[in-house]
Amino acid sequence: MTSSSGKIALGSRRRLKNRKISNFVMLFLTGLLTILALVPLFWIIGYVVYKGGPGLNLAFFTQLPRPVGIAGGGVLHAIEGTLIITMLAAIFAVPPGVLAAFYAARNPNTRLGIGLRFSTDVLAGVPSIVVGLFTYAFLVKPMGHYSGLAGAVALAILMLPTIIRTTEEMLKLVPQSLREGSLALGAPEWKTSMNVLLPAAFNGIMTGILLSLARGMGETAPLLFTALGNERYDIRQIVTSSIQGKQGFFQMVTRIINQPMDSLPLTLWKYASQPYPERVAQSWTVALVLMFFVLFLNIAARLWLENRARKLRG
């Protein structure tokens, strides 16, 4: 009797030991996998800085590209293009996005509200290349030419779901009592929305907008057949020629945005696939600049949100 019960005790003790070992091994493994997943992050950032760093100089930011085979020159056209296209996209995407989010937050259970949330989800999942195709069929083909404007529309479509989602989430966090208080004081719905709800949710909304800007800035696929790319894009020349030609402001803006444009990711892609070593070297520097922009926007957005949240709590 005693010996058999001792055997059981021994067996269960051994089993307990095995369980503890497997516990330790598996938990250790999760930590290891976390580190493994972060290896590419540091590898990419480190390598891009290492390869792209030497190419950083003033000319890179202030000059247009030189013809292939001649060293030097910069990517001013792509920096201008990125800024113009991303800003235009934000102008197109932010107002309808925020308004649609107001609608979704106010009427979550109406038929249109459910449809809106569903199509936001679908839109968030549409591959960026498909958005590029759509914009081509919808804008470029009828207009008859590629343009930065079409590129901005494509980016705006990609940014829209992020803006709607974060704005809606933030509006839901605003206490109901604030809204009711404003309405009880006799303020109409739109004043309540613009003067009470929007300021209360402002930081969160800005975070969403900045994150969507960061995403849009790094996108290449939707620009491939909308903005197309244009190595001779020179904004200074356009501005001077339209001032000399005594064109109005509106005409000048149209000339600026209504032609093919380059952007940093587009330039990176083109340079990387060219067989000229100096272009490939420049593509690493473009990657460095692009990554700096994108990561900076990302970190700024998150820092801002965390800071404000801490202030609100404290």
């Binding site: 999760t30 839109l123 549409v126 290349i129 790094g218 990176l268 994108v294 998150r302």
Partner: protein, 344 residues
């Protein structure tokens, strides 16, 4: 009496009571502005829905000739398929196969890693480390895909994929059935479907990890405490209680990741080698649906060629649409389950 004096008072001109009421009503609409505000909101909401529908509709409309000409043969699997713009022969199977197989590789590799991250972040990580780790994982998702492509092309392919491919073709390539997928040799540059799958797995890991982390975090603590009180180790709690509990949410996150892998364009285009061959092996260069569009659409001369590419885009849209509906359903199911149990 009182009414009469009111209607004669100097600051309120106007005759009868009904006219006064209408004027007041009109004034209310314009002063208040709520009607216009509601109209604006309605318009914005409608715009988003119309936009989503019109993406599908536009792709459907602009691929009409290709659809009527090729029919279902465009999509059906064949070993001997043609993508020949010169002779107007188009079959998309090699691209569909490329998309499916690279996404499969990506999912198989990314799911265990992402689950490990999610478990580590929610269950084990000391609090001071949690925020920085969350940040780093999210930064991984923020790197533009074209930068992944550049790094993949010049660093990852020659250093990792090419040796790995050689090793796989030497070891697994000799097995009778399995060998079909690992038939070598891998190109010297390393550009192959395997390389694309590996890059994709790195790119979708943060997506899956972030969503399944949120799922694990939402599980009520009573589940953990009950399991630990019954004498389970922490790992047994995670593996036998938490992961089954959040299963549908985790599945939803995997489907979201899959959706991202299917549509990813630039990084894949740069590393997959861009070839229309219909070989089965993972170690051969190929094309995905997204990358063939990216590479050929701007240079498509004939109408039929661009229509065929638009049809590929349509198929991609439908695939991601189905995946999103599935993911949404699963995530919704787990969240309603947690709510129900919190109430009951």
């Amino acid at each position: 009496m009182i009414r009469k004096t009111q209607s004669f008072s100097p600051d309120k001109p106007g005759g009868s009571l009904t006219a006064e009421k209408t004027i007041q009503g009109i004034r209310q609409i314009f002063d208040h502005g709520d009607l216009a505000w509601r109209g604006l909101l309605l318009f914005a909401g409608f715009l988003v829905i119309v936009l989503t529908v019109s993406i599908g509709w536009m792709l459907w409309q602009s691929s009409v000739d290709a659809r009527s000409l090729f029919g279902w043969k465009f999509f059906t699997p064949t070993l001997d398929s043609h993508w020949d713009p010169v002779n107007n022969q188009f079959q998309a199977w090699p691209f569909i196969y490329g998309t499916l197989v690279t996404s499969l590789v990506a999912i198989l590799l990314a799911v265990p890693v992402s689950l490990g991250i999610a478990v580590f972040l929610t269950e084990l990580c000391p609090p001071w480390l949690r925020t920085p780790l969350n940040w780093l994982v999210e930064l991984l998702a923020a790197i533009p895909s074209v930068v992944y492509g550049l790094w993949g092309l010049f660093v990852f392919l020659p250093l990792v994929v090419a040796p790995l491919g050689e090793y796989l073709s030497a070891s697994l390539g000799t097995f009778p059935l399995l060998g079909t997928w690992f038939a070598g040799p891998i190109p010297l540059s390393g550009a192959s479907r395997l390389g694309a799958g590996l890059i994709l797995s790195i790119m979708i890991t943060p997506t899956i990890a972030a969503v399944s982390r949120d799922v694990l975090q939402a599980i009520p603590n009573s589940q953990r405490e009950a399991s630990l009180a019954l004498g389970s180790t922490q790992w047994e709690t995670i593996w036998q209680v938490l992961i089954p509990y959040g299963m549908s949410g985790i599945l939803g996150s995997v489907i979201l990741g899959l959706g991202r892998a299917l549509g990813e364009t630039m990084a894949v285009t740069m590393v997959i080698g861009n070839s229309t061959n219909s070989a089965i092996s993972l170690l051969k260069p190929g094309y995905t649906m997204a990358s063939v569009i990216a590479n050929e659409f701007a240079e498509a001369v004939t109408k039929l060629h661009s229509q065929a590419l638009l049809e590929v885009g349509l198929a991609l849209f439908v695939m991601t649409l189905i995946l999103n509906v599935m993911a949404r359903f699963l995530v919704w199911r787990v969240s309603s389950k947690i709510q129900q149990e919190a109430r009951g």
